[in-house]
């Protein structure tokens, strides 16, 4: 919505918001309640989601072979927390561009510098599906998918 409203502002400079732009804003507003409910559910269940995501990650092949030490787990927890909160906010505001500009490009730089194929968003998605309702998780899907694709370079179905 933020990016949308900025663009609407640019297009309406010195004149009126077009009918098309008004429709876009209304479309975004129409799902506000669902998004807000999902956002609240995520906030309330943050601990459970992160715990589950970490479990899934540590159980996965890569980590079974080479487990993380405490510092690694702490770092991973922080990265996931940031990722979760950022994607949730992006979902609430229905704004993928904001997510990319404010968080994802920077995060991508870090993981590239560490030569890390970051899979955290995939585990967060799986965790969300087990903690949240299907409807709530579905709302988060596009944001987690974008995040995962940027970090890992893998396209997801």
């Amino acid at each position: 919505m933020l990016t949308l409203l900025e663009n609407v502002l640019d297009r309406a400079d010195g004149t009126y918001v077009s009918a098309q732009d008004l429709r876009l804003i209304e479309q975004s507003l129409s799902s506000w309640h669902d998004r807000r409910d999902a956002y609240t559910a995520i906030q309330v269940n943050e601990g459970a989601i992160i715990r589950r995501a970490l479990e899934l990650m540590q159980d996965s092949d890569r980590f079974a072979a080479k487990p993380l030490n405490n510092l690694g787990v702490d770092r991973c927890q922080r990265d996931m927390l940031l990722g979760l909160r950022s994607c949730a906010l992006a979902m609430l505001l229905e704004d993928q561009d904001l997510l990319k500009d404010r968080i994802l490009y920077w995060q991508q730089n870090i993981f590239q510098a560490m030569n890390l194929n970051y899979q955290g968003y995939k585990f967060m998605w799986q965790a969300m599906r087990s903690v949240l309702t299907e409807k709530q998780a579905e709302l988060m899907k596009p944001y987690l998918r974008t995040a995962h694709e940027l970090m890992s370079g893998e396209t997801v179905a």
Binding site: E46, G47, I50, R51, Q77, R78, L81, L82, R85, S86, L98, D101, R102, I103, Y105, W106, Q107, N109, I110, F111, A113, M114
Partner: protein, 208 residues
Amino acid sequence: MLTDMRREPVPASFFNPRSYVKSNPATGLLHSRQGNRLLAIPEILMDSIFHTLAEEAGEASQLALYTFGFSWGKSFFQRVKKETEVYFATPLSQMIAADFFATMQQAWAVHGLGKPIVDFSFCKKGILIVTIENSGISTAQTGFDLEAGFLGGWFAAQTHQDLRGCLGDRSKFPRRAQYLIGGSSHILDLQEKHLNKGKTTPSIIPHL
């Protein structure tokens, strides 16, 4: 504990261009999100500086530009360091290198200075290779002394060592300028023996 963590904000990308610059039309001020004053200058300022200095000072302009750049780079580092440390509530020395360099890239980006890429492959020989894409300081043909000084000053301030920068290579398409950063005498030596004779980075590497 996760329940405590929930209330703690997790710091992220401080310099990201969508958050960093704030404007106050009533006072005519631009400032960073921490309140430090910013100025937006058009490209032509850099062009004017290079042109005027070359006209007024001829050969001496190279040294003047380097020195000016060094001083600028040093204070730029100090400003970035201060804002980063406040935001992350962590001394820079305790930041993970990958985090710091991602922060450095965004600090460059939000100031319109281009994209810095640091190559550590030769740090055991005491040399960093820093490539700037789309530089806001140098142009396609000039300003390399200024930028070399800027980078020298930045890294000297970061490491508290007597460092110097010099141009190693450049290209127009894509627009890139590549600098060698290292100990002052080492760099001066490389300049005298190789760079001033027209060699570029790839052929200097064996001599590092």
